[in-house]
């Protein structure tokens, strides 16, 4: 009867938690004029039909700041270009937030919130663990004391009878 198990609710709660985060940093199409895009293929020979490259790497350089991002995550060049732009947007947002400006932490609001959430989770976990072990320890100590008292009583009984 294992098939009757249901997993409906777990997903919904996860989704609900994520909504509270600040929005993801989006690529602004206006920035398109400020970047220099390169496709790094290299490889020997003349290329074309003679060479079957599987990886397509995209490198974009943001000219005003000099930040360079390369990306080779996906097999599709389009996806790589999109992803590289997202990474660059994140980095530019981080630059805006460093040196005492913005949130001053050198990362975007969303990343900061995610980081804090992670930290909170870790702290919570540690606190809960500490609580649990404290409880266990105290229980164990009580048990030990009880055991000792019992033994003592037993001994007293034995010796008491003898003497």
């Amino acid at each position: 009867m294992i098939h009757c198990k249901r997993f409906i609710h777990t997903q919904i709660t996860l989704h609900a938690k994520r909504v509270n985060l600040p929005p993801r940093v989006r690529w602004d199409p206006k920035l398109e004029t400020e970047i220099e895009e390169k496709f790094l293929y290299g490889g020997p020979g003349n290329g074309g039909q003679a060479l079957n490259r599987t990886a397509s790497r995209v490198q974009i350089k943001h000219i005003p700041t000099g930040i360079v991002v390369t990306n080779q995550f996906s097999r599709s060049q389009k996806d790589n270009r999109k992803k590289a732009r997202e990474i660059l947007a994140e980095k530019l947002e981080a630059l805006k937030n460093s040196n005492g400006q913005g949130n001053g932490m050198g990362m975007s609001d969303r990343k900061l919130a995610l980081l804090q959430k992670k930290k909170e989770k870790k702290e919570n976990r540690e606190r809960n663990a500490a609580k649990k072990y404290k409880k266990l320890d105290s229980e164990r100590e009580i048990k030990k004391a009880e055991q000792a008292a019992k033994e003592n009583e037993l001994l007293m009984n034995i010796y008491g009878k003898k003497t």
Partner: protein, 320 residues
Amino acid sequence: MRINRQLIKKAKNINPLLPYLLPQCRTIENASTELRWINEHFSSKPKSEFIEACKRRYKGMPLQYILGTQPFGKNLNILCKKNVLIPRWETDEITSFLNDVLLKKRLQTIRENQENSKKIILDLCTGSGCISASIKESYPDIKDLFIYGIDVSKACIDLAMENQVFNNLENNKGNYDTWLGYLLHDVLNPKKELFKRVKKMDEWTGGEFETSSPFIECIISNPPYIPHKQLSELNVSVKNYEPHKALFGELEFYKNFVDVWSPHCNSFFYELGDITQLDFIRNNLDEDTWTVHKWMDGNDKLRGVYGYRKSLKNDYEHYI
């Protein structure tokens, strides 16, 4: 070129399957990304298949044959099978150039005018059908536009049709979308029936469309262009696994274009690998009627030649 022993050792420490991918990838970084792709593809299958795939890659089988597809164009996934050339990234760039620059204004005018005359785009040596599929993907709703992919190989035409269905680009009779079809025919010796077939039939109603002369709007082609003498220099994965018929050729397709096809078309784009092929087209087309340009790929290498009739300057030249 042999691979450094230390590199193999280093790869083995990261993942025991990584050394299998080194002969094709050369660096650990590239091999790791390729291993990730293979892993993602085989994630729901038994592990033995994954290991088998890595071993096949070690022998030089192209990654696209192992995974079955190659991303292409805006959102296409082109199926790849034996006996058909795998679409290259250069061809991907060429199609985005065609869709976004060369044909953009011309196709827009065709869409707006609705002259009720048949506009034809031919994709010669279509192979997997990637170029023609990508044009239909970008311009799905031009009533007068008919795209034909032509190839001499039966395997290519079968796969191209499979790709059309796989990417949801089928022709529906009810709505007048862009029409896309594939024909089995020899590009080098086109018979009169081919011209008739392309010219006369209206694919929807069976009636006759008007065709102006020259009757083809644009000819796009990725013909075989590697010189035969380069065979020994080629990579194993290309040499042993891909069809030689789609790889080796010198001037025959360019000669064929100048002699047979050029009188019938308004514009063309041919992929090429050598400057001699560019010069051949430049020297043999009539300078008074044709404007010819070269095209460089993202790697700054000569990769194509395109041109259009001087009389259609306004429709084709706006981007320069």
